[in-house]
Amino acid sequence: MTSQHQSLDTLQDIKRMMERSSRFISLSGWSGVSAGCCALIGAWLAHEKLQQMFGGPVGRDWNYAVRGHQSIPDQIASFYDLILIGICTFVAALISSFFFTWLRSRKQKTPLWDRTVQRLMWNTALPLGIGGLVILRCLQLGYFEMVAPGCLIFYGLALVNASKYTLGEIRYMGYGQLILGVINLWNVGSGLLLWAIGFGVLHIVYGLVMWWKYERISQQSNS
């Protein structure tokens, strides 16, 4: 009887070592939730800003493809405000998601900077960085409609790529972002809405599912 239990323990040891050495598994579900909340706040701020730019309610039928009647300098100022909102949202999401993952890795006593993290970082940062360049160029050329689908598509690709180096389920969130991004390509007016669904709602849903699946149980066993 005991030898069978020992075998099972040994196999579980093997599985754990294989996972720990090849994947970063301390990614917290709360990171997804917090990043999603940041995105929703950012999208709301952008929505308000657009209303101000166009001097009236926008987003009727969820369509933002309207032309403004502000003077050119005002438009440029509003444009920089929108960029600022975007950057602040990104930074806030990054810091808050980092914080929750840091908490979890400390609780699990796994290092936050080992080769699994380095590989995860590189494989996420590469598609994201290149995507950032493409979006920057779109802005310079005035293809503003391409910003939201560009964010969604490159982020989706980054997630699918990252799924090999962390919790595999992140792949499905990547697919979700890609679907929204492609829909957005042919519905350019709905950019802000689809962006809010992708970066806000999908993140929150993913985070809650991951918390339910992995962290809830470990919390119970701790207490």
Binding site: Q4, L11, D13, S21, R115
Partner: protein
Amino acid sequence: MKNPIEHLNKIFDNRVRLGVMSTLMVNEEINFNDLKQLMDVTDGNLASHLATLEEHGYIKVHKGFIGRKTNTTYSITKAGEKSFKEHIEALENMIRGIR
């Protein structure tokens, strides 16, 4: 019933050696310091286990340099992969034995 223990590999009957083999099954190569961090053991302890595995031809050692610092990396051999898979099969068979 055949004795299932005969297929169990004595070499893998140790937490550190088992850990090293598991890690090398899913990583093409890995260096000494990363292994040490993963197994949470001392230099000398890890080195002696790695030497045992190398003697049996289960792992390969590559000595290299990063700048002036030595960087020793390890990878699994064909024989090592085969023996490890047999070991896992033997463990599985032992578990099935109770049913």
